[in-house]
Subunit: 396 residues, 2 copies
């Protein structure tokens, strides 16, 4: 039986929705990657009753629980008190923790407020988890069937403490064998269309098929058991890639590098020794913003709109090519006004026109729908994907 | 006694940390804003045992629970089955739900897969929540002390169903008096510096002071009880605004409009009848992308980098002003290369140079640090804030 692992987040800002719980997602992803999937995730605010009853429940049903937040110096930070109350443990002064907190302030040449003393009061029997990255020490303790680890909610400190203090403990308790994941990344094809294209493939029972729609790509995920033969992984991956065709821009294999649409387009341009300039209308700078630090993008000109007139696009491209010293130029033609763009119910039309050297330009008309930020992002991604497909077709 | 309200999110992608649960945060924020704060939030994956035991627990302890996800057509979508199993209810075919799903496919001229029939099978006694925005109907039912509302996990559909079907029900059940919230938005001052500036203000006990650091601004929040006198709200708000000085770009008052740095800069430019062009280096199009649909931005030119040479900036600004038909031009000078920009430990320096009509240009040097996306976003926001402060100073 795999261990029952839970995550417990504490914080008034979380339960009031003022911040999104990225800590829980990060921890879950780390644990799933280790072959130790999380079973449940719970959040409560700074309320003593809610905290103690949740701690008692978890002590009865889980083998391991990672808890974030509530370790700060203020009166709202109740975690240690709640642990003491839930499990009937006195809190004791930990001189080493106190020294560490005092040293943290000394290094910053700031006086230590009296309130921080509270952070050195740990429930009896708890093991201190040294925090070299902030003031709040973490702590761990066994209660009922469950091993609890408490760490601060500050993401940077939480991650460091997870790596240094929790991970080694988990590896000792649960020797595991991580699964192998293949991620096939596509653009320009919807999730339902994508699922339809995969219909009829006879996946072996041990192979888990999943999909994830992100803002810039759709991922088809194939999860294999750790001992699945590499040749089998190759065969199944190839089958999926063939079904999805040109929409596939990258295949991420276990232990190999990661790729995004930006890095794939960069690789294609670099292999040809070419660079690129952009004239953005609907994406309005968002495409250039995704390419910061990419040496193949020579310049981008952002304009409010451009008439759908290919002659004018050609003149503009010639000017941009010359002034921006660019080999290739992509021009977005779009004449929707601000009001119709902001209307969620009205889709926007855009022409991507790509000028590559001496051959005639390549054109593609696209439609994007949804909220204004969604239209803008789709315009950026589909323009970039049009460049990718054009460069790949040129290779063929 | 206020009602005990919970949120329940279902999804393998959530529990594996592949996506962050923005639905829970959004719902929590809506409910807190109505004076109905959420007490607990729980997430489980596509596991029948976990789903049923969580549903049974919540039925015992909560008065209302909003549940997202698991209503899709695939075998992984277990919510309706889990509800049926947890509360011992048969599932029944709902012909109206079926018609709605079929109509959705008809409008899109696509055949309806047999698997979607499952979405019309609702637990006996449930009230259908019509979904006009997607295929999965929601449903609501009373179990134990708890009123459950089940809606799809797709954020757009979830939000629409919350507004149309859940909100009216909550307003009927819990006539509430929302608190009054004042949000003071600042840029260009850190949270700790900001807190220090507010030290010594004697806030009345009923007034809750909070802070929220977002990517584009820091918010100082003042939460007043619903019956707090308006003159008192005015006095306290003014005190805070005076302490924070020029860093304040907008004050959001109860029942009044919202403002962002982009809309504030737009208002200042419009009041002067001027428009603006940009030459972006470090923000690399991100500033323009935040201004899509704003008629006061005439153009933006994105360049990989620019030497810190104010003469060259002046020539470039003159060219952009002429070609882009702009009154004012902001030029970002930054010559850090891609490698040093990508280095989290090495801060980047940028000069903002603003050309406004005939007077000499205004300059500001800024330093931005952190990851590449953070540096880029700070560069965009601080450039925009420099424009805001310059326009306001010109007014004084």
């Amino acid at each position: 039986m795999p261990p029952i692992i839970e995550i417990f987040s504490q914080g008034e800002e979380l339960i009031r929705g003022q911040i999104v719980d990225s800590n829980a997602a990060w921890l879950s992803e780390q644990l799933a990657g280790m072959g130790l999937p999380v079973r449940r995730h719970s959040t409560v605010g700074d309320n003593m009753d809610d905290l103690t009853s949740l701690l008692q429940e978890i002590a009865r049903r889980a083998d391991c629980c990672i808890c974030t937040g509530g370790l700060g110096p203020t009166v709202d930070d109740l975690t240690a008190e709640a642990v003491a109350a839930a499990f009937n443990l006195p809190r004791e002064f930990d001189p080493v923790a106190y020294e560490q907190i005092a040293a943290w302030f000394q290094r910053r040449k700031r006086p230590m407020p009296e309130s921080n003393r509270k952070q050195a009061m740990l429930p009896r029997g708890a093991t201190r988890l040294d925090n070299h990255w902030g003031t709040a020490p973490g702590f761990a303790l066994q209660q009922g069937r469950c091993w609890f680890a408490f760490v601060p909610g500050v993401p940077y400190e939480m991650r460091q403490l997870f790596r240094e203090a929790i991970l080694p403990e988990l590896q000792r308790s649960y020797p595991h064998t991580p699964e192998k994941l293949v991620v096939i990344k596509t653009v320009g094809i919807g999730e339902s269309d994508l699922q339809q294209r995969l219909e009829g493939i006879d996946f072996p029972g041990q192979v888990q098929l999943g999909f994830r729609t992100a803002s810039d790509e759709i991922q088809t995920k194939l999860l294999f058991p750790h001992d699945y033969p590499d040749t089998g992984i190759e065969t199944i991956t190839l089958q999926v890639v063939q079904r999805l065709g040109e929409a596939v821009f990258f295949v991420e294999k276990p232990g190999e590098g990661k790729g995004t649409l930006v890095t794939v387009v960069g690789g294609l341009l670099r292999s040809k020794g070419k660079n690129l300039a952009l004239v953005e209308t609907l994406s309005h700078g968002l495409l250039a913003s995704k390419c910061l630090g990419q040496d193949w993008l020579s310049a981008s000109l952002v304009l409010p709109g451009l008439q759908e007139d290919h002659r004018a696009a050609e003149r503009l491209a010639a000017m941009v090519r010359k002034q921006g010293r660019a080999d290739y130029v992509l021009v977005q033609l779009c004449q929707d006004d601000a009001r119709s763009l902001a209307d969620e119910k009205s889709p926007a039309t855009m022409d991507n026109v790509l000028f590559m050297g001496s051959e005639p330009c390549r054109c593609q008309q696209i439609q994007v729908s949804g909220t204004l930020p969604r239209k803008q992002n789709r315009a950026a991604i589909l323009a970039l994907d049009f460049i990718r497909r054009s460069l790949q077709q040129e290779n063929d």
